[in-house]
Each structure stands twice: as structure tokens, then as C-alpha cells.
């Protein structure tokens, strides 16, 4: 069997070699050289480029039609709504530029395809045209910059609300821990040298503020309609806390604390009833059914979005947005660090 395959390969190589010889020998007989571009070539390639544009644009719209409603649901946070608004304005603008510029490129490529009877126009420059396409993009960019920075400054404004909820997200290879300040509303100080099996986030045992801190894993809760101030820390390498449904993201960097704040606008329960989400989950569960997997319900998620090691692709935590009342009930059930330590 192997011998036959080997024989076939050898024969193929010989056949290919002979074919090339024939082609090489026939070269000498032809007047025009193989590499020379004929009018026929130009005509064919010009038309092919136009056809390519049509296929390319068709592919673009096919993708938009097929995959657009699989993108993230509408933002579930106050600033996220603005981010989405700005996103839409920008994406429509750049899609327009993408389509128009590619259209002119391929249209001209088709229209001015070469012909030995034609001669090109000698147009070395045109100051008016060049001014036009310097100034128009400059004006468009001025608007993009102004609106972008306006929202950016609002989102990153360090001032925080009176009734804010502080949550620390502590990242390590390869999981998350959320820490709440407890009744005193103060997160205890930490020291990486005090990290141990029973002190996973490295609470400084000398700081009393840490005694009533609350640690949770796998899932953390936040209330709807209140400002959430995330403090982010990392134990080992850089991670990134990515909360895509809230349009929130910030790296977790060892040796420093980073911040991001947002105000959730929809509880998990409300989100599960949102028509967009219902449709999206139907699609997800249809796919899961095909793969014989259990159906799932929508959940907000915290993902790691900075390469952090072998299990980077599985570093996640559920986020539950409760009504204000439910949040208080949930929080009441959580045990403070000190009580946990006493038990141990």
C-alpha cells in the first residue's frame, strides 16, 4: 500500500516535471512572453476586481445579517448606554467610509483597466482636492475626539456617589475573589507577605478594618441602581477584569490598585426577560441542544481578559445583579472574615 502511494507520488512528480518542460519549450515559440500583461488580462482582472467588490460587500452584509444579533446585549449600566450610543455613531460613520472608499477603489480599478489603445491622464497633483481630504477628515475627527473625551472624562471621573458599593476584585491564577468592606464600609489593608491558605487575599491581620470584610468566590452580587466602585488587585501576574455586559474593563496589576465604577441598570432577572437576551439565549440553547449540552440561563459574567497563563481561557466568575432589597438580604447571609476564622 505504502509502496503504491510512493509510486504514485514519484509518477506525479515525473508527470509534473514533463509538463513544465513542455511549457518551458513552448515559451520559445510564442511571440508574447508569459509574464507580459495583455489587454485580455487587463480586461479580465479589471472585471474580476469589480466582481470581488460585489462579493466582498455581499459577504459583509451577510455577516452583519447573520452575526450582528449575536453581539453583546444592550448595555446594562448607566455609562454603558452612552458608550453604546457613541459606538453606534462611530461604527456607522466608519462603515460608510469603508464602503465608499472601497467602492471608489474597485470601481476605478475596473473602469480604468488598461488597454493598449488608451493613455493615462497626466495629473501629478491638485492642491484643492488634497486640501479637501485633509480638512474633511480633520473636522470629522474633531467631533469624534470631542465626544469620545467627553464620555471618557465622565466615566473616569474619580468623584463617587454617597451610597456607592465598594467591591474589590482580587485576581490570581486562575480565579477571582470578591471582597466587600462589611459594616464599617472600609476594606482592610492588605500585605502580600501575609498570604496563606487561610488568608487567601493577604489581609493585614493588624488592621481591624479587615475583620468584617466579606469574601466570596464563584459568584458575587451587586445591587441595581447604585454605583459600584470596583477596586482591582492581583496576586501574581497581570489579569484584566472584563465585565462586557456593563461595558466595564480594567487590568488588575500586581503592586497597585486599579479602579472602575459603573451603575447597573437591570437586575439579572430583568435581563433574562429582555427580548434581545431571550432571542440570543434561544440561539445559544439551540446550539447547545445540538451538542447535547444542558440549556443555560443568562448570567452576567466577569472574565479575565489579559493573558495570564495556561487556564486563562477559564478564569471566570458569575455576577448577579439584585434588586436593592434582595442585595441586602444576600449580604446579610454572608459571613465576615473574622467569623470564618473563628470557626476554623
Amino acid at each position: 500500500m505504502n509502496l503504491l502511494v510512493l509510486l504514485a507520488i514519484v509518477l506525479l512528480i515525473i508527470a509534473g516535471h514533463q509538463l513544465l518542460r513542455v511549457i518551458e519549450l513552448s515559451r520559445g515559440l510564442k511571440k508574447t512572453k508569459e509574464w507580459q500583461v495583455s489587454d485580455h488580462d487587463n480586461n479580465l482582472m479589471g472585471k474580476a476586481l469589480l466582481l470581488f467588490m460585489i462579493v466582498f460587500f455581499g459577504f459583509f452584509f451577510w455577516q452583519v445579517n447573520r452575526w450582528m444579533d449575536r453581539s453583546l446585549p444592550p448595555a446594562a449600566s448607566e455609562h454603558g448606554v452612552k458608550v453604546d450610543l457613541l459606538w453606534d455613531a462611530n461604527i456607522y460613520l466608519v462603515t460608510f467610509i469603508f464602503l465608499v472608499t472601497n467602492f471608489f477603489l474597485f470601481w476605478f480599478a475596473y473602469k480604468y483597466r488598461g488597454n493598449s489603445k488608451n493613455k493615462a491622464d497626466y495629473i501629478p497633483h491638485n492642491n484643492k482636492l488634497e486640501m479637501l481630504w485633509t480638512i474633511v477628515p480633520a473636522i470629522a475627527l474633531a467631533f469624534i475626539i470631542i465626544f469620545g473625551l467627553k464620555y471618557w472624562n465622565e466615566i473616569m471621573d474619580p468623584a463617587s456617589a454617597e451610597d456607592k458599593v465598594v467591591v474589590e476584585l482580587y485576581a490570581k491564577q486562575f480565579d477571582w475573589t470578591a471582597r466587600y468592606p462589611g459594616k464599617d464600609k472600609k476594606l482592610g489593608e492588605t500585605d502580600f507577605r501575609q498570604i496563606s491558605g487561610s488568608n487567601a487575599v493577604g489581609l493585614d491581620t493588624l488592621d481591624m478594618n479587615g475583620n468584617d470584610d466579606v469574601l466570596v468566590k464563584n459568584e458575587f452580587h451587586i445591587p441595581v441602581g447604585r454605583e459600584i466602585e470596583l477596586h482591582m488587585r492581583s496576586r501574581d501576574v497581570i489579569h484584566s477584569a472584563y465585565l462586557p455586559h456593563f461595558r466595564a474593563q480594567m487590568n488588575c496589576v500586581p503592586g497597585m490598585i486599579t479602579y472602575f465604577k459603573f451603575k447597573p441598570t437591570k437586575t439579572t432577572a430583568e435581563m433574562r426577560k429582555d427580548p434581545y437576551v431571550v432571542k440570543m439565549m434561544a440561539g445559544i440553547n439551540a446550539q447547545r441542544a445540538k451538542e447535547n449540552k444542558e440549556p443555560v440561563e443568562f448570567d452576567y459574567l466577569l472574565l479575565c481578559n489579559k493573558i495570564c497563563g495556561a487556564s486563562h481561557y477559564n478564569m471566570q466568575m458569575n455576577v448577579v445583579v439584585d434588586s436593592k432589597a434582595d442585595y441586602i438580604l444576600w449580604m446579610a447571609k454572608q459571613k465576615a472574615v473574622k467569623t470564618l476564622a473563628a470557626k476554623n
Binding site: 509574464w35 450582528m68 466608519v94 498570604i195 496576586r235 500586581p254 486599579t258 477559564n314
Partner: protein, 607 residues
Amino acid sequence: MSTPTNTALEKEHLAHHDHVHDHDDHEESFVSKYVFSMDHKVISRQFLITAVIMAVVAMVMSVIFRLQLAWPGEKFGFINAMLGDKWGKDGILDPNMYLALVTIHGTIMVFFVLTGGLSGTFSNLLIPYQIGARDMASGFLNMLSYWFFFVSSVIMLSSLFISDGPASAGWTIYPPLSALPEAIPGSKLGMTLWLASMAIFIVSSLLGSLNYIITVLNFRTKGMKMTRMPLTIWAFLVTAILGVLSFPVLFSCALLLIFDRSFNTSFYLSDIYIGGRPLDHVGGSPILFEHLFWFLGHPEVYIVILPALGITSEIISTNSRKPIFGYRAMIGSIMAIGFLSFIVWGHHMFMTGMNPFLGSVFVFTTLLIAIPSAVKAFNYITTIWRGNLQYTPAMLFSIGLVSSFVTGGVTGIILADSTLDINVHDTYFVVAHFHIVMGLSAIFGMFAGVYHWFPKLFLRMMNKKMGYLHFWTTIVCAYGVFFPMHFLGLAGVPRRYYTNSNFPMFDNLVDVNEIVTVFAIIGALSQGIFLFNFFYSMFRGEKAPQNPWKSNTLEWTTPMAHIHGNWPGALPEVHRWAYDYSKPGKDKDFVPQTVPLEPGESDEGGH
């Protein structure tokens, strides 16, 4: 603009030339002619062939990880055959090896193919040819530049064969991940080899760049004013300046990382607990690394793209049979892009914890780059407007470059906006953006250059029909691979995930990944057409005529032979700019730069 040095070289050469005629042959050994050659033409070919080999390695890597992304958990004999039982047991890719593959794929493509390969090949080939010089300013440094490049390539490839696997912290090698061997196996010996390889690569790049700059500034032939230089040379010059100013910063960045790794310093490390113990490092900051890295990293993307833009400017003009539109605006935008590229690095760091105010400054400077980029794109389109387009494979790839430059460029406007970056930072939207605008554009430019200057590189012609087939399969597959990735980004899929199957929220994106992988495989296979055409034509292609594309630039006035010193007699004199195509009142549709101006004739390049 003949300098004393050049004149001296000229005299020496003429003497040498007579000498050659006396004996009628060159007494050079094989080693000095093909191995340790100081001739820019040979060095150019050495760079090109090395880069082609590196590109094939990087491409095979991408096929391996694309298989994993489309069909996670499936068993592929191919993966097992490529990686063996250690990294591809039963044909399933190991997660650590996945990260190693994306890291080395990125490193090879960015540095070895699109920096070393692209600049190394075409700056070396075209700078002496197109400015009318005998060779580079220093042939010896030029030779060293290639051999440092070779050594660094060998070290990078050797890291694929060590037991802990190659570097795997992403091509940006952010510490602490890259600094701590406990964090990931790739940060053991693999990372050491990566840093050693890059340090040598930087030496190569600096030697090359300094040579390019000096040659362009001092070795132009008589009449070759700066404003008469082809845009290729302008692009190579600015690229070389960017390299000289930014690569040393990468060197210091890498050096501090080497210190942190090997000598227990704390430039980038602080407050770390790993492997069951707290480390001694205090006071360093990973953010410092990011600043240093991107201070090179951002100019680097222009080091990659500018030569490609220069190459296509030349090819589009030649094959449109029409002057490049807005020659001076093109020079201006190359310089503006070059300048701005140094003050935009922070846009890679909006989400790193860098002060948000600093972020806003970078938003402003970054979006400014869109202006010269737009000028370039529109000038290309106006160049083909009312032209007489000759569709050589090189011209097709140049059209492809303009398309991908625009298509990938517009998403840059989104990503440069820090507010919008919050949600797509580090997602597949970014992967789509930079692969299209930088990867595709630069590789299209490189292909265009190879097809166009193959006659000067190997004195033979490449096969046109295979070139056509290669172009069409490549552009279709390229967009098929990278366009759908935007939609993965919109769904919030992070990059560098070994599989998305651990997140039910990504379950409905399975078909996107499958489509991408199918296109990737077809695209990779179709590069076989190019490889065959390339190596076959090198030995068996048709003999190249003097000036196959009816081009104006000086390289086509040298004999179709690789002779020492490029021109057998005196150096040619330049009388006009490089773009007198279809000039009214001329019988031919091109006027080479060596043709004197007629009385009263104006020259666009002579002011």
C-alpha cells in the same frame, strides 16, 4: 549631490572596473560571494529567503491554533505530527503550547517577516539601485546586519525544540507573566531564548537602519535631489529613522526584563505571591514595561507598514502609467505618520490602570494619525483614477493593500477612542483590526514587491498566471479569515483564549470560528502556489528583459546581471522625478529619470 565619499568610491570603482575588464572574471570565492557577501543585492536575497522560511513556520503555527479554535477537543493527526506527543497528545493541542504558538506566530510575523524581511529585503535591494549608488555606505555593517538577523532567527526557532516550550506570554511579553518561571512554563528557558533572540535582532535592525539612513543621505547620484527620490526611498528612510529611535528603547526594555529574570532586580515586579511563597521584589511596576514596550511597539507597526506603502506607491504609479498623485503630500504624510507614531503609544494602555487623563492625550494624538493615513489612501485612489491600469500580479496586490489599509484603518478610529476601547480592548475586534491594517497590508506590500522586483532579485520573471491565482486565493481567504473576527469581538470574545467552550455565552459563535479556520486552511495551502512560483522561477523562470514594467526608476537602467557596483560605467545622472508617466508631448508613456529635461520642460521634482 555627490559627496566626497561618493566621489572617492566612484574613482575607486572605476579603477576596479578597468581591472575587471583586464581579467574578464571575478575572483571571488563561493563563501564571499554568496555567504558572507557585502553586496546589497545578495544581502537582500538572503533577507528575503530567510523571511520566507520564517513566514512558512509562522503560517503553519497559525493553522495549528486555528484548528484548535474551530474544533476544540477534536483530534487532529496533523497537530500530533507537528508537535509530537508532548504538546499534541492524541492530536489535541496543549493549552500551554497554544499560548506559545500565538506568541511565536506574532513575534515571527511582526519582527522577522514584516520588519527584518520586508525592510531588509527591499531597503537593501532598492536603496542603492534607486538612488544610483554602487552599494550601501558600509557593506561590512550590512553583512553583519544580515548575519545578526540570521542568528536571531536561529535562536528563535531553536526555542521551539526545548523541553519547556518556547516563550508563551504573548508577543508583547508583559511581565510578571514573562518574568516568572512559576507563572507559565514558557517563561523558563523559552523566554530567555526569546529575549536573547530579540536583543540580537535589535542589533541587526540598528546596523541595517543606520546604513540605510547614511546611504540615502550621502550616496545619491548626481541630480537625485531629495524631492526627486521615489517614494519607496522616502518610506525606507523614515522607516529606518523610526527604527533607530525606537528599537534602542525595546532593547533597554528587554534588558531590564533580563535583569528582573536573572539578577533578581525589581524594575517590573512588586508585591507578588506565586508558587506558594511571596517574592522579594518590591517597588517595580509592570506598567513601566508597558510604556517602554509600546514606545517601540507603536512605531514598530509603522516600521512594518511604511515600506509596504512605499513599495505600492511605486508599483501603483508604474502600473497605472500615471504619476503618483500628490507626491509632496505623500512625503508629507510619511513624515507626519513617522512623527506622530512616537506620541501615540499610550493607546495600547487605556485599560492598564494608566492615569485616565494621560489616556485622553493619547486619544487626541492617535486620532490625528488618521489624517495623513486618509491622505495616503485618497491619493492612491486618485492615482488609479483616469489611469491605464496594467494588472501585473504586483499591481493586484497593491490594490489589495489599499483595500485592506482602508478596511483595517477605519476600525482604528474606533479603537483609538478610549471610551469605545473599554469594551473591545483585548478582544477579537482588536485582532481583526491589526491583522487587516498591518498584517494584510504589509504582507500584500511584500508580495507586490517580490512580484515587481523579482527580475532585479533573480534576473528572471515570475509566472503571471500563478501570480493571479495566488492573489485571488490570498485576498479572498484573508478577508474570510479576518473580517468575521470583528463579530467575535462585538460578542465580547477575549483574544488568546485556548477555547471559548467554557463560556456558554459564546456557544452561538461556533460557526464564526469554523468559517475563519476553513478560510485560514485554504489561504495557507494557496501560499504553496507562491512558494512554488518563487523557487521555480528563481531557477527556471523566463529571462528578464531590461525594463519589463516600463518603469522610470534607476534600478531598471542597470544591466540584467548582478555586477559589483551595479552600473558598469559611470553612475547615471538624474534629471527628473520618478513619476513622468504618460507625460503629454512624449512619444512613450514613460520617461526614465535619466532622460534630460527638454528646454522649457517642467519637472515636478525639481524645486
